[in-house]
Symmetry: C2
Subunit: 559 residues, 2 copies
Amino acid sequence: MTDVKSDIEIARAANKQPIREVAAKLGIAEEHLVPYGHDKAKITAEFIRSLEGRPDGKLILVTAVNPTPAGEGKTTTTVGLGDGLNRIGKRAAVCIREASLGPCFGVKGGAAGGGYAQVIPMEDMNLHFTGDFHAITSAHNLLAALLDNHIYWGNEQKIDTRRVVWRRVLDMNDRSLRQIVTSLGGVPNGYPRESGFDITVASEVMAILCLARDLKDLEERLGRIVIATRVDKTPVFARDIKADGAMAVLLKDAMQPNLVQTLENNPAFVHGGPFANIAHGCNSVVATTTALKLADYVVTEAGFGADLGAEKFFDIKCRKAGLTPDACVIVATVRSMKMNGGVAKEDLGREDVAAVTRGCANLGRHIENIGQFGVPVLVAINHFGTDTDAEIDAVKAYAAAMGAEAVLCRHWAQGSAGIEELAHKVAALADSGTAKFAPLYPDAMPLAEKIETIVKRIYRGAAVTMDKSVVDQLAQFAAQGYADLPVCMAKTQYSFSTDPSLRGAPDGHVVHVREVRLSAGAGFVVAICGEIMTMPGLPRSPSAERIHLNMQGYIEGLF
Amino acid sequence: MTDVKSDIEIARAANKQPIREVAAKLGIAEEHLVPYGHDKAKITAEFIRSLEGRPDGKLILVTAVNPTPAGEGKTTTTVGLGDGLNRIGKRAAVCIREASLGPCFGVKGGAAGGGYAQVIPMEDMNLHFTGDFHAITSAHNLLAALLDNHIYWGNEQKIDTRRVVWRRVLDMNDRSLRQIVTSLGGVPNGYPRESGFDITVASEVMAILCLARDLKDLEERLGRIVIATRVDKTPVFARDIKADGAMAVLLKDAMQPNLVQTLENNPAFVHGGPFANIAHGCNSVVATTTALKLADYVVTEAGFGADLGAEKFFDIKCRKAGLTPDACVIVATVRSMKMNGGVAKEDLGREDVAAVTRGCANLGRHIENIGQFGVPVLVAINHFGTDTDAEIDAVKAYAAAMGAEAVLCRHWAQGSAGIEELAHKVAALADSGTAKFAPLYPDAMPLAEKIETIVKRIYRGAAVTMDKSVVDQLAQFAAQGYADLPVCMAKTQYSFSTDPSLRGAPDGHVVHVREVRLSAGAGFVVAICGEIMTMPGLPRSPSAERIHLNMQGYIEGLF
């Protein structure tokens, strides 16, 4: 293993270009940028509108096998592939998600890639960045304040205060706020009721920002949010209490995508970051569509493994935004294949070709699944120093047997020089015209059937179970006019099943849908299978205790 | 009254200069700016450090009579005077506070001046601006999350969970969050306890940011925040749970002052905005001291009327930052003098010289009070169209009798052209060397005596009363080493007394101190006299309902 510096050391040593020079590579003139410092900028809505009618570049999705504690490096590979495509002379841009602030204070870690495949400035990206998430927090909580204020001043809408579904959000890991009672203290403080806070990335406003085409679409979607139920059981929308206009005003700047750069000074769009369980887990539609107008190749990623992330990318984001992906890269590592093959984390350093091959069942399943969407697949083996040639060959052989070529990539240690081969093959595949993208199910399929289709065809479960109350709820959504919405599955990311310990490629399992929720503004129905945490807590020894500014004013302890 | 456009129309028609050109007027090179868009920038900490040793310009405080519903125009006059000084050839800058987001959604209104004396971009200033308040919200709530997390994981510090004083904050008017119970829902969510949210401007972190000299001082002050009491009654500091480093990291950018411009393209520092009741109500020390190094005249303001704002500016901000003000301007209007003289709001349009003269008792009292700090005074009569010559003359005569010249100013309608006379007189007064600034009381005076001194000499009350529990609390603060801190009075802004309906110049009243609180990080003891609201609510018909983006993408309904 070569001697590699820490992520933050590499990032600080980077030869950063002024953001206007990075923008110029995509043909964006300085006047169309709103600078945030010298290394971050938003792209103006006016400029984005002016791009209408231009042809689109090729869209490449980077997804992964089911995550394991071994780490896969999906963002690292997305960034590396973008740099690799630029290296071989293609005009390419990457599109990734913004990071949530809260988790940074729990465990050390960043969300900007790693090694020599990073997006910079990484400190900003992991802290306030351009303020988008703060704006989402404000807009979300304004709606909450207006809702309680409406009840306080007479409740003209006849809201059933036991049936308020709109909670509040903070971009903070704070378990004490999960379940609270508000409006205590008597008459001046309103009517006490149970409520709670989620983390900002779990906000429907986040999902809406990431799916809205423009400000007008954003405002309409905000107005469609269901916040409560009336005494007569009809839904109360955000527009019913006239919250949509002010929320859109708060989100005006946040809607403009952010441009930063990779370590190799290539353009990176970093915009939006919805949860990949109760939301769809992709960067914003605005960023992706803008990048497609400006670059010949756009490399983007989706949350978690391909069973959750890629499925939602195809069935929610691409369906709704009219995107047609041209190629897909599944990231796998020898280590994660070993863990999928039953090896414990502490034994990952020891060669075990048989375990790798066993674990490749997980990879193989994902290769098959992507094929169901009509998108051609390559596998990126994200190289670790402990990998042996025999293990790498085992992954390649397995992938080849499944009809996908696996390419070894050393971008983490070498930057774009380590991923040239994959870049050539991805460009060729994307240009080949072999993609025949189609979502997994049609809009018109009934909601319960959509869930069943995903469970059976993607998760390979034998059956879906749900209580009568859930069946009734789906029927009610359909009756209210939401039958055509896609379904957003919320289940564990660690397994095809709902049992996180079931690695590899399980089948025949039963998936129980515990609850369904309507995200009418975002435009999907969430099916919750198992416990989904929407407000994380901090660990016993949170990294916040070690984060500080050193004598030079640099941030320490965050990465 | 001349035909004057609305604030927002004037602001939008402004001939805005790129912020680097505005900065150049103060000798700030572009490399020392961190741009936020093309019209806002932060000034780097490195550049600020490089200014050490430079001589300071003259410091001019703009304060006001006690506020009335008639409006006085303190920020408008601060901005106008800055423009006026520039107009007469002086290198001048203004230093004002940032606006809070929450109240914008309650009642229509801005905090960037008005008419032809405004700071721009006004929309940004009233919304997210450069994200400072969001950073303060995050840092404050991180401390709260770490505190509850500490208790959750075993409470090593033996915190008495009934005696946690650190609450949470949001920059939102939300009465339902004033009093809540947190950590419901069983073991995974922690130990239920009573708590609540304040608005962000009421956060001690806000006061700390505004009083800290630099990042190191900031971190030390954050560490000194008292968050709870142990079972053994000793105070628990933020540093005891190792929160100070991460909080400082979150506030790193927010500590750098913001530079924007007036309508006449003169430099304006807009930085920090603590409450003027439970905190000291001034813009940041860093902004003021930076402006003093760069401009020959710095015009700044303090919250509410002079009894609260100017007293705290002198006794807290100037004392602690070593600032020596050279002149003071008290803003008065004919209308506010009339209201102080007993006229109802609906009758303000009718000439009433006798009422004006009666009301001037309020102005006269403030003139006297400023004199006690050794700072020479001018009065700015902020002109309204309904003012008559006889009324204006009455104010001038009263002020003259009190030893202060009153100057009629028409900056609201005319910009700097309307305030030339005041600018000349302020410059001459500041240059005269007549100021002999000293705080009202020495550090060594006992805390209770400090309160009494302010009440008797500034409020002209006859006596201070406090329950034994408050007396004991002050003794405890002293025993803990806080005897030398200044006192921050929290009382109504509408009267010298604690009765908001008592206008004019009451005396002989009794001031009851209901509660005292220690802001050990900010460095003052708060004495609360009467009801102080730290989390506002929204009105029956909040302005949020009318705020929206129009077809051109402009914000409507905010101003």
